[in-house]
Subunit: 701 residues, 2 copies
């Protein structure tokens, strides 16, 4: 490849910043237009170049390693004639002696963009697109895409620029030719892949986009000092995961007879869930634990045990791991904490574990994980007292122990939906989010995937897996550490803008993953994804018992990207028919007067039915008014019956009024598969998650 | 005043757009620098002007009514010499025959701003400040202030511009002289007040701000066709409100013997609350209602009744109002709906009510209100079955019936805090949000005020009242209809940018009111304001039982403007001392391992105490981990005891784990005055409300 050859050659010479003309000729090879120009060494050559190129001209001094030509006055614009050229060369030669020049045609007018590449220390090569000049610096108006990026990624990224309107023609200028612009960005993305490992950053600033051209007016390639390769993890093999999620037998290394100890609780959890496989407790004391015969050492375990859960202190983990390896056990859950997350000593032990795993071709979850859950197999390796788990169709992948401990306990006691699998990633020395996602993507028990991660181990592998999975199943994610100060001090604009969170944002959009904002949304999303279909669009109708709620919730819809279309006239008339005339039915529907005059249940049943039948609506939300005095409905099954008749439309419920009545309604509806929410904003936020999942599922390839 | 004279004179001539030189000379009178310039009619005059001003020059054709000079090429910049001037005059004279010219000095470099005035149809005269040029149009980077605005308002508004960084020196240019800039804006604000009623909009675009000058390069005054006066409501008299909130006797016009009817419920509510005053039911049927003798007509009521609650259909309201007026009753609550909010007929009746009120010097709440609440007087006019109300120190002003109906029911059954007064504004033909705010501002029973409004009837009066009240008491507001498409199609930039929500945002900041985003926050804010002190600053420490929660909640703090300072070393050491070494204590605090090893209660008690004693922290939040198996604390009073020892620091609690345990903790702590929240994000959002209230209380005058 020419790109690598050229960069390799420059690297050998110790070049830190590629000369502008060389950078431009590389870009030109990737189909990016650059101004017509010539490198010259003296006035005579410059004059010849001027004849060839034609005035007006630009003259640039090619000072080695100088990144900021304008600030150093190493650029002279708008040279109109030979006299101007001579004085420019004279001036520049005085200030930059012994330096070659670049003579270039003056650029045409157009929208000023900036494009670039950066090899992010965490996330690797990325493409950046931004609005240029002062916009970049003041508004930091830039989007990032992980490389390799598809043309569709680039097309979808452009409208995310806040200055996107600049491309549609501005103050009388004609609209930018977006195809050419995308061509140029695609060329840059290809260069970014081909030359990966050679550059720290590339700035095309400005990239001038006009009605008939997109031209790179300046190109700076900031070189690495040595080529940097980036590992991308081993290939995935989802049936490797059967040992974790469908084990026929499990050894508990560090089992305990003391109630409350993790090594005791893990067995109690298995019993509570009716686990059908064999259980082999291991403890040097021997004897019996909860009715199971204890093995004094892992080395004494029978052959062919599918999984070992190792619950011993960090320092003892390597020995235990060697012992289970010696019995041919290929899957382990490493529960203890105290490894790389804590200290250097811990990091050393963690590396030792990794070596043992590699030598024995073993797969491991953790260390520092509270374990995994697999309800179809009635299995969990969690050492937290969970009791019986609830089977469902949502899978969790969590770089936290919470979804096999406290938050799962909350889901079991405060919610009604169930889970298929939970993967607690821990320090992910082996199993990482990409592999877990591939497994759940292929898992027939899992219909939707909820993720919490703080880092992405192999971003390219992850993107590749997620691109596929998200076309089949909704995937939502909270990325922890999103607002961490991630910006680097860097001389390249692209690198300066490359806050980790911006890149993650681009990556998740490329991947088709719906991003969550709050920790609690991990539960909210799990619930709504497990209970509702994805809506066809963002058109919502809703019933609420208060004009103020209608107003405030309409504002919320606008913020969430949900629309409130006009109702069909027959829908409106039907609801108006049950409503006293002093309330006029509009979109959304003020239902309180109807409920007062016809009764709460008939009014809501009629209203819901009317909205569900309205072809203008993709989803329906009702805010119930519930008090004993107004008349609590004797049953809420009409809601699920109506939802059953419209299986393609999400139906979500919230309430206002008497807290006890609200709780009653919740506990009546949720077991019927209707999601309810204690705060009136929540069904709207939940619906917007569903809508975003539906959108990405349908996105262009 | 010169401004009004000049504008009045122009208005008489039917001028729609003031000639640029006249606009500029008006601005100059208000202390705003403008370029040195001369109006000329021909080349000879232009040449004389050029000698006086000096080259380079600008030539503008003063075409009457032409707003967009640049687009019409009615401006020629950078005229370098006499030759240039002659050719410019020749060119312009050909294209704009018979038109005078403005010859001006060329402007210096600087940051390009836009400033303006608009007379908003709803909100009246406003000042606009924005970043100029393409920023205005693409990013709509503008802030608004209601006029009259103080110098402090202007100083506080500038940093809200997203392009504020442009003023601090940019790409090598020196910083803008902000004092001069504020001087100019203050001058414009003064003009905006003096000339109110004469202009639709004023654009100063660009306003060029530099290190030594701020110059208005172009001034467009868009005239009204006739002077428009703006009424500002009658003066407030807060003891006028005693009739509503401390009535010694109340007539219920439209009382009913039928349980469930509003005219029955209102009396039941009074009985349930132990109202000590006289109750006079009125109903043509006579007899007795709930033990009270019924009057057949309002005209038969005794003299000196303090308040009449009129619960009759809209069409019958005027007659009832006349009857109670005839008995000398000076305060009425007009409960029925069906007035201006519904139909033209309703609007006519509403006007009739207003006339009767005015003729009889009466005060009214409503119509279309569910009534008011006054717990210190054990009084409510609500016709919604509320039962006994809970006394507290939070006052609600609501342009919705919800806070005397469903949402109050929720507060009574699902929350633990109480209210002082609730004012349901309804259609506010008389009592409006300004008067209600003045009343609650002076009310010793009310320590914090929560508002929901959809419109502000007299914005200037409201601003005046709120500026004072917010220095004494926290005031928070949700403005309904915030995202409504409020933009006008207008030729003035300022008018085009004047979305109602932007003006409201400026007004609330001037007023010192903390803005809420969600309807549910009206309850959240009421609770936290009633239970917590305002913190000294935004420095928060928190305990949570999960690393992932620490990460996600730290992200949330950043988004909310809360900071997580480093703990004092002794704080850190104290908590580390109870924590196993595989967890390293940082800010915030990961408490789960300490809780596992020392017990939940001791760990949290120690942790809370340590954080509360840390002088680096202004507030403390704890996320409790609660399950039976881990050991539920036998009591949570340690939390309120610790909070009592640190009365200046808000203490807020949330939880994770077993829902039943969470509910138990909530019902233990809230009666002790410690606010608890079911979702872990809520205490942070609540604290940010407290923090914003504290900030505005301390704002410069």
């Amino acid at each position: 490849m020419r790109a690598r050859e050229a960069l390799s050659c420059a690297m050998d010479k110790g070049v830190t910043l590629l000369p502008e003309d060389e950078g431009k000729s590389l870009m030109a090879e990737y189909g990016i237009s650059v101004p017509h120009g010539r490198r010259v060494s003296n006035l005579a050559e410059a004059e010849r170049a001027a004849v060839e190129i034609g005035y007006p001209l630009v003259l640039k001094a090619l000072v080695p390693g100088l990144a900021h030509k304008s600030e150093s006055r190493a650029v002279l614009l708008n040279i109109a004639d030979l006299r101007g050229l001579r004085s420019a060369i004279a001036d520049m030669s005085r200030r930059f002696p012994e330096v070659p020049f670049l003579v270039e045609e003056m650029a045409t007018e157009g929208a000023e963009l900036i494009a670039g590449l950066v090899d992010d220390p965490q996330l690797g090569p990325c493409l950046m697109i931004g609005t240029g000049g002062i916009f970049t610096e003041v508004f930091e108006d830039a989007v990032f895409l992980l490389l390799p990026a598809t043309r569709a990624d680039i097309v979808a990224a452009l409208p995310r620029l806040r200055g996107y309107r600049l491309l549609s023609g501005f103050r009388g200028s004609p609209p930018v030719d977006k195809k050419r612009l995308v061509d140029a960005l695609e060329g840059l993305a290809k260069f970014g892949v081909d030359a990966a490992g050679y550059y720290d950053a590339v700035d095309i600033n400005p990239l001038r986009a006009a009605a008939d051209t997109t031209v790179a007016l300046d190109v700076k390639v900031h070189m690495k000092q040595v080529v940097t390769a980036r590992p991308e993890g081993r290939d995935l093999n989802s049936h490797d995961f059967a040992g974790f999620f469908e084990p026929r037998s499990v050894a508990i290394v560090g089992a305990s007879n003391t109630p409350g100890k993790p090594g005791n609780t893990v067995i109690k959890n298995l019993i509570a869930n009716g686990y059908q496989g064999e259980i082999y407790p291991v403890n040097p004391k021997g004897g019996e634990i909860l009715g199971y015969t204890v093995y004094r050492s892992s080395a004494e375990l029978p052959e062919g045990v599918d999984l070992a859960v190792i619950i011993v202190p960090a320092k003892d983990s390597p020995e235990s791991l060697r012992d289970v390896a010696s019995r041919g056990i290929k899957h382990v859950v490493l529960s203890a904490g105290g490894f790389a997350e804590t200290s250097d000593t811990g990091a050393t032990i963690q590396q030792e574990l990794l070596d043992i795993l590699a030598q024995n071709y073993m797969r491991a979850l953790g260390p520092n994980t509270s374990g995994n859950i697999s309800t179809p197999s009635r299995f969990t390796s969690s050492f937290f007292p969970l009791g019986e788990l609830r089977r469902g169709n949502v899978g969790y992948i969590a770089q936290t122990g919470n979804f096999a401990t406290f938050t799962m306990k909350y889901i079991l006691t405060g919610e009604y939906f169930g889970v298929s699998r939970v993967v607690g990633l821990g320090n992910k020395i082996d199993v990482d989010e990409s592999q877990a996602l591939a497994y759940l993507g292929a898992d027939p028990e899992t219909h939707a995937i909820v993720m919490y991660v703080e880092s992405i181990k192999y971003p390219r592998k992850f993107l590749e897996v997620a691109r596929t999975v998200t076309r089949e199943k909704p995937v939502v994610m909270l990325k922890g550490g999103a607002t961490a100060a991630g910006k680097q001090a860097a001389s390249a604009h692209t690198a300066a803008l490359a806050a980790e969170d911006r890149i993650i944002d681009g990556l998740l959009r490329q991947a088709g993953i719906t991003r969550l904002e709050n920790y609690s949304d991990l539960v909210l999303a799990g619930k709504v994804l497990s209970m509702c279909p994805l809506p066809d669009g963002n058109r919502v109708g809703f019933l609420a018992p208060s004009g103020a709620m209608l107003v405030a919730l309409s504002d919320l819809c606008t913020r969430l990207g949900l629309t409130l279309p006009s109702l069909m006239e027959e829908t409106r008339e039907r609801i108006q028919a049950i409503t006293p005339s002093f309330i006029r039915i509009r979109k959304p529907v003020d239902i309180w007067a109807a409920a007062l005059s016809c009764g709460v249940k008939p009014a809501y049943a009629d209203g819901l039915d009317a909205l569900l039948k309205d072809p203008n609506l993709d989803a329906v939300i009702a805010i119930f008014m519930l008090t004993r005095e107004m008349g609590m409905p004797d049953s809420f099954s009409f809601v699920s019956e109506l939802a059953q008749q419209h299986k393609d439309k999400p139906v979500l419920i919230s309430f206002t009024g008497d807290k006890e009545c609200m709780d009653e309604c919740r506990s009546a509806l949720e077991p019927l598969g209707i999601p309810t929410f204690m705060q009136i904003e929540e069904p709207f936020r939940a619906l917007s998650i569903l809508h975003r999942c539906a959108q990405v599922k349908k996105r262009p390839q």
